[in-house]
C-alpha cells in the first residue's frame, strides 16, 4: 500500500519535481492521530529541508491522499495546507474519523519546489470517548456538582444553610415602609433589556418580593418597562405576589406599563415620572447602561431610598455612589435563593460558592508559585506552576508534562 501511495503522490507531482528539482525535500515525515479529539485531526511532522537556510525555503506544503478501503487505490486530494519555512508541524483538522490517509510534504523556495517526501506510514484518525486532556475539568465538575447535590440534600433535610445578610435585600421592607409612611409610591425599574437577558429575569425575581411587601403594607407600586414582554412578565409576577399576600383586590395592572424601547426615551419618561410624583422608594434591578446615573441621581435628588442591582460592572460605581443600597453582580443573582429560602436554591448557591472557593484557591496558588518560581528560579516550583496552568486549568491532562516528556524520551530510546 505504501508503495502504491508513493507512486500515486509521485505521479501527481512528477512533472513539477522534474522541472524544479533544485530544492531538497524535507525528511523523516511522520504522521499521528491527534489525541483527545473526535477523530478529525491528524498531526504531520517532518524535519526541515537541508535548503531551509538563508531563505532557500519559503514554505512547506502538505499533501494528502485517502484510502477508502484497504485494497483500493489511494485517491489524491492534493495540497491541504502549508506552513512557513522553519515550521515542522502541521495539524490537519479536516480528516474524517475511520478513513486511512497518506501524507506527504514538499518544500517550496525561490528556486522552485522539492520532490514530495512521503510519510513512512498511513494514519487512520479515531475518536476518543474521553478527552484525557480535560480530566481535571471532569474532576472539578464532578466535585462541584457533588457538593451542590450534598448541600441541596442537607438543606432539604432541614440543615441550616446560612447566607450572609445582603443589606440591599433587607432594605426592601424599609424602603416600602418609607413610601407607605410618606404616602408616596414605590417605583420599580426592571432595566432596559428584554426578558431573554438573565439580569432582567433576576430583576423580576426581586420585583416579586417588592410587590409582596407593597401588598402587605398597602403601598402603591409602579413598574414602567422598556420592553413589552417584560411588562407582561412583570404583570404576572406582581399579580401573583398580591395574591400570595392575600390582597388580590389591591392589584392594579395599569400601574405596570410599557413606555418605549428607545433607551433615552424610556429614561426620560421614567425621570419625568420621578420628578412629578416623587416616589419615596426606587428600585433599579436589571441591565442598565448610560441611564443608570441619570435615574439614580434623579432619585437621590427627590429624597427617595434607592436600591439598585445589576451585573453591569461599568454601571456599578454610579449606583453605589448614588443609591442607598446596591446588589453587586453575584448578590443580584443570589437574590432569588436569598429571598425564597428554598432549599434547592440555597443548596445550589452554597455549592457554587464552593466552586468559587476552589477557583480562587487555584488562582492564588498559581500566582504564588509563579512569583516564587520567578524569584528563586527553582525548576520544581516552575513545574508546579505549569502543572496548574497547563494541566488543571489547561488541556494537558493528569500526567505532568515532565513525566510525559521523560516517557517520550524513553520511547525514543
Amino acid at each position: 500500500m505504501r508503495t502504491l501511495m508513493i507512486a500515486t503522490l509521485t505521479a501527481c507531482c512528477a512533472c513539477v519535481a522534474q522541472v524544479h528539482a533544485q530544492v531538497a525535500p524535507p525528511t523523516n515525515v511522520k504522521t499521528a492521530d491527534a489525541p483527545n479529539d473526535v477523530g478529525n485531526q491528524v498531526i504531520v511532522t517532518w524535519e526541515t529541508s537541508p535548503d531551509d537556510v538563508d531563505g532557500g525555503v519559503t514554505s512547506y506544503v502538505v499533501v494528502r491522499s485517502k484510502v477508502d478501503t484497504d485494497e483500493s487505490t489511494p485517491i489524491d486530494e492534493g495540497a491541504i495546507g502549508d506552513v512557513p519555512y522553519g515550521v515542522t508541524t502541521f495539524i490537519d483538522e479536516n480528516a474524517t474519523a475511520g478513513t486511512t490517509y497518506w501524507y506527504g510534504v514538499r518544500a517550496t523556495g525561490s528556486a522552485g519546489e522539492s520532490a514530495i517526501a512521503q510519510a513512512e506510514e498511513s494514519v487512520t484518525p479515531t475518536m476518543e470517548m474521553i478527552n484525557a486532556g480535560k480530566i481535571w475539568f471532569l474532576i472539578i465538575m464532578v466535585t462541584i456538582s457533588g457538593v451542590v447535590i450534598l448541600y441541596v440534600y442537607h438543606a432539604k433535610r432541614g440543615g441550616n444553610i446560612s447566607v450572609r445578610k445582603i443589606a440591599g435585600l433587607e432594605a426592601v421592607s424599609e424602603a416600602v415602609g418609607r413610601a407607605t409612611e410618606m404616602g408616596r409610591e414605590v417605583l420599580f425599574v426592571p432595566g432596559i433589556l428584554d426578558i431573554n437577558d438573565i439580569q432582567t429575569v433576576a430583576g423580576i425575581t426581586v420585583l416579586s418580593n417588592v410587590a409582596k411587601t407593597a401588598a402587605e403594607y398597602d403601598a402603591r407600586l409602579e413598574v414602567p418597562t422598556a420592553r413589552s414582554l417584560v411588562m407582561t412578565t412583570a404583570r404576572e409576577t406582581v399579580q401573583a405576589a398580591y395574591l400570595g399576600a392575600g390582597r388580590p383586590d389591591a392589584y392594579d395592572e395599569n400601574r405596570i406599563y410599557y413606555l418605549t424601547d428607545e433607551q433615552f426615551g424610556y429614561t426620560a419618561g421614567v425621570q419625568g415620572k420621578m420628578v412629578r410624583d416623587k416616589p419615596a422608594a426606587c428600585f433599579y434591578m436589571g441591565a442598565f447602561y448610560a441611564e443608570s446615573l441619570i435615574l439614580a441621581e434623579t432619585g437621590n435628588s427627590i429624597g427617595a431610598i434607592q436600591v439598585a442591582g445589576t451585573a453591569m460592572p461599568s454601571q456599578l460605581p454610579f449606583f453605589v455612589a448614588a443609591c442607598d443600597y446596591t446588589l453587586i453582580g453575584e448578590e443580584f443573582f443570589a437574590a432569588s435563593a436569598y429571598l425564597s429560602d428554598d432549599p434547592e436554591q440555597l443548596g445550589s448557591l452554597k455549592g457554587q460558592d464552593v466552586g468559587k472557593v476552589i477557583a480562587a484557591g487555584l488562582l492564588v496558588l498559581g500566582c504564588l508559585l509563579a512569583t516564587l518560581g520567578a524569584m528563586t528560579g527553582s525548576s520544581g516550583i516552575d513545574a508546579a506552576s505549569s502543572y496548574i496552568k497547563d494541566n488543571i486549568l489547561g488541556k494537558a491532562g493528569v500526567m505532568p508534562a515532565m513525566v510525559l516528556h521523560i516517557g517520550q524520551e524513553d520511547d525514543t530510546e
Partner: protein, 606 residues
C-alpha cells in the same frame, strides 16, 4: 405649684409609691454637698380598706422624721413645707407605680417606623406598652379590633405618617380604635384619653373619627415629622399630663398627694430613665441600667445621649420565672450551675417561686440556681433591648464608592458594650445578693460588657426619687446619685475579639501590681471603694480592650466593694457544651471571683 429657686432647696423629701411598699428618702445639704441622710418605708395604702395613698406616704415620712429627729408631718397629717432648722422640708416630690403603673396601647402605620417611635415615646414616659397596633403587624382588621377591645389601657398613643405623608393609613388606624371603644382601666365615667401624634395634615380627619364621643382626643406635634428625625418630647409630656390628670386622679388619694408635691408626680420607670439621662449628660458617659422585678425586667440605656427603655413583660424572678426557664431553656439556665441538679426538684422550685413570690433561697444550691435564672432573664431582657434600641429605620443613606462592599442596613442597634461606661443594677435578686461579688458576676455574665466598665448597684432603689429631683434640681440629683444612690461594685475589664483559650489575652498593671490574663480565665484584684487608679492594659494582637485590637489602653478606674474583675473569657461568652467540663469551667470562675466564699466559710464553721 410654684417654681423654687434650686439654691434655696436644702431639705428634700421624696417618696416612691410602689404597688406594695411606699419608700421615702430624705436628702439634706450637709457640709457643702447634697446627701441622702435617712430612709423609711411603709406599706402602700392605695388598695382597700385604706384606699388612700397618702396614708402610706405619711407613715413612711413619719418613720423618716423619727429617724432624722425632724418633724416632717404636722398635726393635720400634712407634710410641713418649707423647712426650718428643725422641721419640714423645702420640697416634697414623688413617683408612683401603684396599681400597675401606667399602661398604654400604641398605634402607628409601620411597625418599624412610626409605631416604633410611638412605643419609644410611651416607654420613655414610663409606661408599660400592652400592645402595638400597626398596618403591617400581620393581623387582620377584625383581629386588631378584637385586641383593642380586650385591652384596658390607661391611654392610647396614635401616630402614623410623616407631616404631609399618608393620611389614609392614619385614619384607618383611628377607624379601628373608634368602633372598638376600648374601656379605660379606672373609672366607668372616664373617657379614654387618645393622644394623636401623627401626620399634621390628618388631624382634622382623625378628630372627626373620634368626634362621636367616649374619647378624650388630645393632639400634639407629630412624633416623627420626617422619617429622619424623632420628636418624642411633646408626646411624652402629654403622656405625663394625662397620667396626672386622668390616671392618677382616678387612683384613691392621688388628688390629695398631687396637692402636696412640688413637682409633677412621675411614673416610676420614667423617673429612673430621667436620672440616668441626667447622669449620662452631666458626666458624658454611656449608661445601662436594669431593674429586675418579679414579673418584669426594665432595661434603660443612654448611648451618645440617646435614651431607650424596654420592659420585658415576661422576664422576672417570681411571677415570670417559669417563662424565663421556658424561653431560655433549662440547659441554658443550668450551664451556670456548677453541680448536677435533679430536674424534678428544679421544676418544683421554679413553680414554688412562681406561686410564692416572696420566697427566698434557703440553701446555697437554691441561691445558685436562682442566680442562674437571673442571668438568663437579664441576658434575654438585654437582647430584647438591643433589638429595640436601634437607629431610625426608613432613613436615606449617604454612600460613597468606598462603601461598595460595606453597606450596612438601617436600624442597627446603638447599644455598644465596648463604649459602655457604667452598668447599674437594681431589683431584688441583684440588690439583695448575699455577696456583692455575686451581683457583679451576674451583671458580667448576662450583659457581657467589653473593655473597661464600671459596675454599680442601687441597693435601696433610690433612682426613681432622684429622677423627679433631677427635674427640679439636677445638681442635687447628680450628687446624691454618685455618692449615696450607687454602691460601686468595682470595674470589669473584659477582653473582646480573638481570645484563645489558655493563651495570653492581655496584661495589666496598676498601683505597682501587675499580671497577665489568659483566655478563658478570670481574676479578681482588690481596689477598695472610693479609691481610683491609673491602669495600663496591654492586649495581645487581635484582642480589643477599648482602643482597637492589640492597642494599649491607659485610663482611670474606680474601686468598689468587689474590686477589679479581669475577664479573659472573650466575647460572645461561650461555655463548653459538655456538662461536666461546663461545670468545672463555671466552678473555676466562681473560685476566681470568690463568689460564694463567705457562705462556704460560714457553712464550714457550722
Amino acid at each position: 405649684m410654684t417654681a423654687l429657686d434650686p439654691e434655696r432647696i436644702k431639705v428634700i423629701l421624696a417618696t416612691d409609691c410602689g404597688s406594695t411598699t411606699t419608700k421615702a428618702i430624705l436628702i439634706q445639704y450637709v457640709d457643702g454637698a447634697y446627701r441622702q441622710t435617712h430612709r423609711g418605708e411603709a406599706p402602700t395604702t392605695v388598695e382597700k380598706p385604706f384606699a388612700d395613698v397618702t396614708m402610706g406616704v405619711i407613715n413612711s415620712v413619719t418613720e423618716i422624721g423619727e429617724l432624722a429627729g425632724r418633724k416632717l408631718v404636722d398635726d393635720d397629717g400634712r407634710i410641713i413645707s418649707p423647712a426650718t432648722d428643725t422641721e419640714g422640708c423645702d420640697i416634697y416630690i414623688s413617683t408612683s407605680s401603684a396599681g400597675g403603673g401606667l399602661q398604654m396601647m400604641v398605634a402607628g402605620v409601620i411597625a418599624e417606623m412610626t409605631a416604633a417611635s410611638a412605643k419609644r415615646a410611651a416607654l420613655g414616659a414610663g409606661s408599660i406598652v400592652m400592645d402595638v397596633i400597626a398596618a403591617n403587624d400581620g393581623r387582620r382588621p377584625h383581629e386588631q379590633i378584637q385586641r383593642i377591645r380586650d385591652l384596658r389601657p390607661d391611654m392610647i398613643l396614635l401616630s402614623g405618617g410623616t407631616d404631609g405623608g399618608t393620611k389614609d393609613k392614619v385614619v384607618q388606624l383611628a377607624e379601628l380604635i373608634a368602633p372598638a371603644k376600648p374601656q379605660p382601666r379606672f373609672g366607668s365615667d372616664y373617657e379614654m384619653p387618645i393622644i394623636y401624634a401623627g401626620n399634621n395634615e390628618a388631624q382634622t380627619d382623625v378628630s372627626e373619627v373620634f368626634a362621636e364621643g367616649g374619647f378624650d382626643l388630645q393632639i400634639v406635634d407629630n412624633l416623627r415629622p420626617v422619617l429622619e428625625r424623632e420628636n418624642l418630647g411633646p408626646a411624652r409630656d402629654k403622656i405625663h399630663d394625662i397620667f396626672l390628670e386622668h390616671v392618677m386622679a382616678q387612683a384613691p388619694g392621688y388628688d390629695k398627694l398631687m396637692g402636696w408635691t412640688g413637682a409633677p408626680i412621675m411614673p416610676t420607670p420614667g423617673a429612673v430613665g430621667d436620672i440616668l439621662q441626667t447622669v449620662a449628660r452631666i458626666q458624658g458617659i454611656n449608661v445601662v441600667g436594669v431593674d429586675i422585678g418579679g414579673a418584669t425586667t426594665d432595661v434603660f440605656s443612654v448611648f451618645d445621649e440617646t435614651f431607650n427603655r424596654t420592659v420585658s413583660a415576661n422576664l422576672g424572678m417570681s411571677y415570670s420565672i417559669s417563662n424565663v426557664c421556658a424561653e431560655a431553656t433549662m440547659p441554658n439556665v443550668l450551664r451556670w450551675v456548677p453541680f448536677n441538679m435533679n430536674e424534678r426538684e428544679l421544676r418544683n422550685h421554679v413553680k414554688n417561686k412562681m406561686i410564692r413570690p416572696t420566697t427566698i433561697p434557703q440553701t446555697r444550691e437554691a441561691l445558685m440556681f436562682e442566680q442562674a435564672v437571673a442571668r438568663e432573664a437579664l441576658r434575654l431582657a438585654y437582647k430584647q433591648h438591643k433589638e429595640f434600641a436601634t437607629t431610625l429605620k426608613g432613613v436615606q443613606q449617604q454612600r460613597t464608592v468606598g462603601d461598595t462592599f460595606t453597606q450596612e442596613a438601617g436600624g442597627e442597634t446603638i447599644v455598644n458594650n465596648m463604649t459602655l461606661d457604667l452598668l447599674v443594677a437594681s431589683g431584688g435578686v441583684l440588690s439583695h445578693a448575699p455577696r456583692m461579688h455575686q451581683t457583679a458576676m451576674m451583671l458580667i455574665d448576662a450583659f457581657e460588657p467589653e473593655g473597661v466598665t464600671m459596675l454599680a448597684k442601687d441597693s435601696i432603689f433610690m433612682m426613681p426619687h432622684l429622677g423627679v429631683l433631677a427635674s427640679v434640681h439636677p445638681k442635687a440629683a447628680e450628687e446624691v446619685f454618685d455618692r449615696d444612690c450607687l454602691i460601686y461594685l468595682g470595674t470589669c475589664v473584659a477582653a473582646a475579639g480573638n481570645v484563645k483559650a489558655g493563651k495570653p489575652a492581655f496584661s495589666w498593671s496598676f498601683n505597682g501590681m501587675s499580671g497577665e490574663i489568659a483566655g478563658g480565665e478570670m481574676e479578681l484584684v482588690d481596689l477598695a471603694l472610693g479609691e481610683t487608679a491609673m491602669i495600663t492594659l496591654t492586649p495581645v494582637r487581635g484582642v480589643d480592650l477599648g482602643n482597637g485590637p492589640g492597642k494599649k489602653v491607659e485610663r482611670e478606674i474606680k474601686g468598689g466593694t468587689v474590686g477589679v474583675i479581669f475577664d479573659g473569657r472573650g466575647r460572645p461568652l461561650g461555655l463548653p457544651e459538655d456538662r461536666s467540663s461546663c461545670q468545672s469551667t463555671v466552678q473555676g470562675w466562681i473560685d476566681s471571683c470568690a463568689m460564694y466564699r463567705e457562705e462556704e466559710e460560714t457553712a464550714a464553721a457550722v
